[in-house]
Structure formats: structure tokens, C-alpha cells
């Protein structure tokens, strides 16, 4: 009797336990399905985009749960758990799809924006390039105009120089001066002076007028007035006369407002004849005053030396 009691107790408790219908075994698939469902429920994107699929999952889950509590066939419990699990997966993929579609929409909007940006930038660059080209063209034009101006100016300068040279030649011709190695030489002959005197006759004065005009027009030029005689009379006398004649020309120039710093005089007497003293003509030729006109720098290249 005592041995049967514990046995009976165990049997009874087994029966009671079996009768309660509590969880006899853990169904992994159901657990997985339940946990997956919970997770999906907490995902706002899934809830927003796949509520019908989640509802189907819930229904299947509840069925599975109920069957499990009834201790129904394992195959049936697992079947609905499987369906629930797949519905949850479907819901998640639907949410992924929606997310991707949103991303596509967003990207397409941005692409339109960026393409517009690119096109605007290209247009601006083209405009800037056109402006730069225009500026460059204008600049080139201006430079060409400047060059033309400069060329014209250079031509004018050249022409002016030519005109001046022509003028000078004319003046020199008016002056009746000769071009020599020492410069321009104006010879005032004997006839322009009173005989044996150092007084300029009207003709001589007219010659000095011309010279003064020339010197006024070309202020950088200087003169060296050299007096010469023939060989009649003493050296001393001739030297004196030649000096006095040269000086007479000088004084005449001074009277005509030519600065004395521009005038030099020399008396050479009979030292430098230009013709033979044996004839009257020759002697007259030797009786002269030579006015040597300097170059533009005021230089008289070769001082008179013994010839």
C-alpha cells in the first residue's frame, strides 16, 4: 500500500499537468515568429507602409498561438507560425521598397536641380567668355588705334623734320652761306665794307640782317667771325683791320639782339688768303670776313689752323 501511494501521486500529478494544457514543449518557429512580429511592430516605417501584411502576420500568429495552447498538432502550430514569419518578412520588404522609391524620387528631384545648376553655370561661363572675348577684341582695337596714332605721329614728326630741314636749306640759301667742313660759312666780301675801313655799308648791313634773322630762328647756333685781309700793308695793320672788321660784324649782330655769348671773333690778317695776292681780283677775294655758323649743338668742328 505504501509503495503504490507515491506512484499514484506521480501519476495523478502527471495527469493534472497534462490536463492543464500548459506549454509541453517550446516551438522554436512560434518564438521566432513572435519575436520578429514584435520587432516589426516597433519599426515605424514597417507599420506605416505594410499595415495589412502586419495584420495578416498577427492573425497567423494568433492562430498558431491558440493551437499551441490547445496542444494541437505540431505541424499545424508550425504552419501558422511559418505563415506569420513570412508575412513579417513581406512587411519589412515592403517598407524597404517604399524607402528605396522615396530615395529614387528624391534623387531625381536633386538631379533635375543639379542639371539646372550645371546648365546655369555653363551659360554663365559662356557669357563670361563672351564678355572676355569682347573686352579682348576692344582692347586689340584700342591698341591698333593707338599704334595707328603713333605711326601717324611718327610720320608727322618725320615730315616736320623734313620741313625743318627744307626750311633750313632755304634759309641757308637765303643767307647765301656755304656748307663746309667747319660748318656753314657766310662770306662778307670786301665790297660790303668801306675801303680800308671797318664800317659796314648798307649791303653789308643787309647781309648781317639776314644773319641775325637766321640766328634768331635757330637760337642754338653760334657764330665765329673771322676777319681776313690781302697782303698789302703791314702784318700788324692787316691784323688790326681784320679784327676791326670782324668786330664790326659782331657789333652789328649785338645791335640786332643776338646775345654776345653766341659770337666769337678772330682777326687773321693776311695769314689765310683764299686767292693769289698777285691780282686785284685775288686781293679783293682775300679781303673778306667769314662768319662760320656752328651746328645745332653750338659746336664749330674745326678751329682754324695754319693752312
Amino acid at each position: 500500500m505504501k509503495r503504490i501511494a507515491p506512484f499514484l501521486t506521480i501519476c495523478a500529478s502527471c495527469l493534472v499537468w497534462a490536463a492543464c494544457g500548459g506549454p509541453p514543449a517550446n516551438y522554436v518557429l512560434l518564438e521566432e515568429a513572435r519575436s520578429a512580429y514584435q520587432q516589426a511592430q516597433n519599426d515605424s516605417a514597417v507599420v506605416a507602409n505594410a499595415s495589412t501584411d502586419l495584420a495578416a502576420a498577427e492573425e497567423a500568429l494568433n492562430k498558431s498561438q491558440a493551437l499551441w495552447q490547445e496542444n494541437a498538432d505540431e505541424t499545424q502550430i508550425n504552419h501558422y507560425a511559418y505563415l506569420a514569419r513570412q508575412y513579417v518578412r513581406i512587411a519589412e520588404e515592403k517598407a524597404n521598397l517604399k524607402t528605396a522609391e522615396n530615395a529614387i524620387g528624391q534623387a531625381e528631384l536633386e538631379r533635375t536641380e543639379v542639371q539646372l545648376q550645371a546648365r546655369t553655370m555653363e551659360a554663365e561661363q559662356a557669357e563670361r567668355q563672351a564678355e572676355a572675348n569682347q573686352r579682348a577684341a576692344k582692347h586689340a582695337q584700342q591698341e591698333a588705334a593707338l599704334e595707328k596714332q603713333e605711326a601717324e605721329r611718327a610720320q608727322q614728326v618725320a615730315q616736320a623734320a623734313i620741313a625743318r630741314a627744307r626750311e633750313l636749306a632755304e634759309r641757308v640759301q637765303e643767307l647765301e652761306a656755304r656748307e663746309t667742313e667747319r660748318g656753314l660759312v657766310l662770306t662778307l666780301g670786301d665790297v660790303l665794307f668801306d675801303v680800308d675801313e671797318a664800317t659796314l655799308k648798307p649791303g653789308g648791313l643787309r647781309a648781317v640782317d639776314q644773319l641775325a634773322l637766321f640766328l634768331a630762328e635757330y637760337p642754338e647756333r653760334k657764330v665765329l667771325i673771322e676777319g681776313h685781309t690781302d697782303n698789302t700793308g703791314t702784318d700788324e695793320y692787316n691784323h688790326d683791320l681784320s679784327q676791326r672788321r670782324a668786330d664790326a660784324v659782331r657789333r652789328a649782330l649785338l645791335e640786332r639782339n643776338i646775345s654776345e655769348t653766341r659770337i666769337g671773333i678772330r682777326g687773321y690778317g693776311e695769314m689765310y688768303p683764299i686767292a693769289g695776292n698777285d691780282t686785284a681780283v685775288g686781293r679783293q677775294q682775300n679781303r673778306r670776313v667769314e662768319v662760320i655758323i656752328s651746328d645745332e649743338q653750338g659746336q664749330i668742328p674745326q678751329p682754324l689752323t695754319m693752312r
Binding site: L83, I90, E93, A100, I104, A107, E108, E110, V114
Partner: protein
């Protein structure tokens, strides 16, 4: 007792036949119930749709799974296991639906990625041109 002659022809006859056959039980090799036929048809349609949306390329695993399930359902049906066939065809249906949505999702994600890549390239090009 009067003997009633029951003839097989006529609506009554067909009715009796059907009841008799149903009475034999699920272990019959006779063509499936309209309900089961409809279920299997739904699953097959979903499978076709999965193929059409490119599941073989974009969700090969899910597609394979669904196809396998459909074959198992057909095997069960051939073996006369109507209940199992129904369960398996229901599973094949959700498997096929999952294959469909997985393929569409994968395609969209690929498209989104491609778009974002080309957008990035476009932006870089602009940046380069601006710096010139």
C-alpha cells in the same frame, strides 16, 4: 420491402457519387477539391508573377524556396495527402509573394543606388568646372 432502384445518371446520381467519394476520406487519389485547386492556382500565379518581376535575378533564394514549396505541395497532392497539399500550397503562396516583394525591393534599391552615384558624379563634375 419495396426495392428502390437508384440510377447513377441524373443529378441525384452524381450527388450520391460525390458524397460516396468524399466519404472515402482524404486519402483518395481523386482530383482535389475546388478549394484546394483554387489555392494551388493562386500559388502558381504568384510564382509566375515572381518570375515576371525578375525574382530569378533579384531574389533567387526566395524564388527557389517558393518553387520548392510548390513542388512539395504537388507531390503531396499526388500522394493523396490533401491536408498537407493545402498547407504546402498556402506556404508556397506566401513564399512566392515574398519573392515578388523582395525582387521589387532589390530592383528599387539598385536603381536608387545608381541614381545617387550618377548624382554624385554630376556634382563632382560641376565642382571641377567651377574651380577652373
Amino acid at each position: 420491402m419495396k426495392t428502390m432502384k437508384i440510377s447513377i445518371e441524373g443529378p441525384l446520381g452524381i450527388g450520391i457519387m460525390t458524397i460516396a467519394l468524399l466519404g472515402v476520406g482524404c486519402a483518395s487519389t481523386y482530383p482535389p477539391s475546388p478549394h484546394l485547386t483554387a489555392e494551388m492556382a493562386k500559388a502558381r500565379t504568384a510564382l509566375e508573377q515572381a518570375e515576371e518581376v525578375g525574382a530569378s535575378e533579384y531574389a533567387p533564394l526566395a524564388l527557389h524556396n517558393a518553387k520548392q514549396k510548390m513542388e512539395d505541395a504537388q507531390t503531396a497532392l499526388a500522394e493523396g495527402k490533401a491536408e498537407e497539399a493545402e498547407r504546402l500550397s498556402q506556404q508556397a503562396l506566401v513564399d512566392a509573394e515574398l519573392a515578388v516583394i523582395s525582387a521589387r525591393s532589390a530592383k528599387a534599391q539598385e536603381a536608387a543606388q545608381a541614381l545617387q552615384d550618377s548624382l554624385r558624379t554630376l556634382r563632382e563634375e560641376i565642382r571641377r568646372k567651377q574651380n577652373n
